[in-house]
Amino acid sequence: MDIQQLLFTFANAEVAARYWPDIAMGMRITLELGAWVTVSGLILGVGLALLRALQWRPLTLLIVCFADIMRALPPLVVIIMFYFAFPYIELSMSAFTATWLALSLVLAAYAEESLWGGIRAVSKGQSEAARASGLSWWQCMTSVILPQASRIALPGLTNRVIAVAKNTALGSVVALSEILNNAQSASSNAGNPTPLVLGALAYLLIFIPVVLLGRWLEARMAWRR
């Protein structure tokens, strides 16, 4: 085993110093994109779950179709479709917008399914108690059902948020200069894979706190006694 060679190849200080700014710029894009995807995906997911709770058949059918298609398609395919196919129907968008839109829709589909599962798991007596005291459907949903449903859905939801946010790496396919793309170009320019190691570190830097945040949320939201 040649430690010297290993370090030169994968942890080359000189290469790291030269290409760190590229990785840092990629981090900014990844962070920004991940945050936007999380926010818009969750908002859309909650909205869809609420619409589904109206139990209006045609709407339910549409939502189920959307959720099933978005969960069945590889996110990469959705991104490529938005970026490369939509210009043909006069809908050009930047690599950032295409990735954001695709991943938001994917996250929304999963979030809707988790939340809907949560809503169904809340016992019927809860909405009966709320409605019997005069709360409207909307008040019952927001004050009684959703707080409980989101607790039930939370573990699945945090995992999915992390998984979809990591999929920002797929943006590299449409030349979005996020971490992975920048790391790949840097390593081919340098002829050395050290930037890829930097990229891995950058992902850890971003997502370890997110994972910890998820754990903290789950612990905090556990039923109090």
Partner: protein
């Protein structure tokens, strides 16, 4: 207004069917102010369905449900408005597990009746005091015994100052030793003048506390009258058979 003659709740020809199975076959019932009416009868007799039609948790198929002068079954009725006047206490308590006791009691006070947080808490604490649980305001429902949970359920209902409270088998989910505390709270409520319609299996309670007992079987009211008459000298064969089964 002559409140003595004016029923708070009046059911007129109430019908309900699931598919082609008729569970309520024309119920006529009046509950006057301050009255405690107990509804007894075998399971499947339609007594819970009738109670749940009174605030339209279940939809009826025909007839009138008049609460405080408003027909709930009429089209265009503001259901949320009328429901404030009808408290409900459930067999399974149905406390909100994500809110503490105070949060459970204040929710509708704030959201439906529009009280400020401070005013709602004041009213909630008064309601909790009436059920003997003012000291549990900060507790979580899961930390309470079944009897305490049901008393919170009662406080949640009476805090809205309803005209009538519906009780759907309020002690059926309780351990036997906890039943007494809930029945006692109900008796105190009755003495304070609350109008109550109670579906129950507690025959001793019905006999001791009710102003009137209604016996239902097969989706109809078979017989009703003062507790002594129903329990002491039932006229109908079905009532006699039922009482013999449950009281022996």
């Amino acid at each position: 207004m002559n409140t003595a003659a004016y029923p708070i709740l009046e059911l007129v020809g109430l019908r309900k069917h699931y598919g082609d199975q008729e569970v309520l076959k024309g119920i006529d019932l009046r509950v006057r102010p301050g009255e405690l009416v107990c509804v007894i009868g075998p399971s499947g007799s339609g007594k819970s369905s009738m109670l749940r039609c009174c605030n339209r948790l279940e939809e009826c198929s025909g007839g009138q449900i008049v609460v405080d002068g408003t027909d709930l079954a009429a089209p265009g009725v503001n259901l949320n408005q009328v429901r404030q006047k009808i408290g409900m206490v459930f067999q399974q308590f149905n406390l909100y597990p994500h809110l503490n006791v105070l949060g459970n009691v204040t929710l509708a006070l704030r959201k439906v009746q529009g009280y400020s947080r401070a005013k709602a808490q004041e009213k909630a604490l008064a309601a909790l005091a009436r059920v003997g649980l003012a000291d549990k305001a900060d507790a979580w429902p899961a930390a309470l015994s079944g009897g305490q949970q049901q008393r919170v359920g009662i406080a949640r209902a009476i805090a809205l100052e309803p005209r009538i409270v519906l009780f759907d088998e309020p002690t059926s989910a309780l351990d036997p030793e906890l039943v007494g505390s809930v029945l006692q709270v109900m008796q105190e409520l009755r003495e304070s003048g609350m109008t109550m319609l109670v579906v129950t299996h507690e025959m001793a309670f019905a006999r001791a506390v009710a102003d009137r007992v209604v016996f239902m079987d097969g989706g109809v009211i078979v017989e009703q009258g003062p507790p002594d008459a129903i329990f002491g000298a039932p006229r109908e064969l079905r009532t006699q058979a039922f009482l013999q089964r449950v009281c022996s």
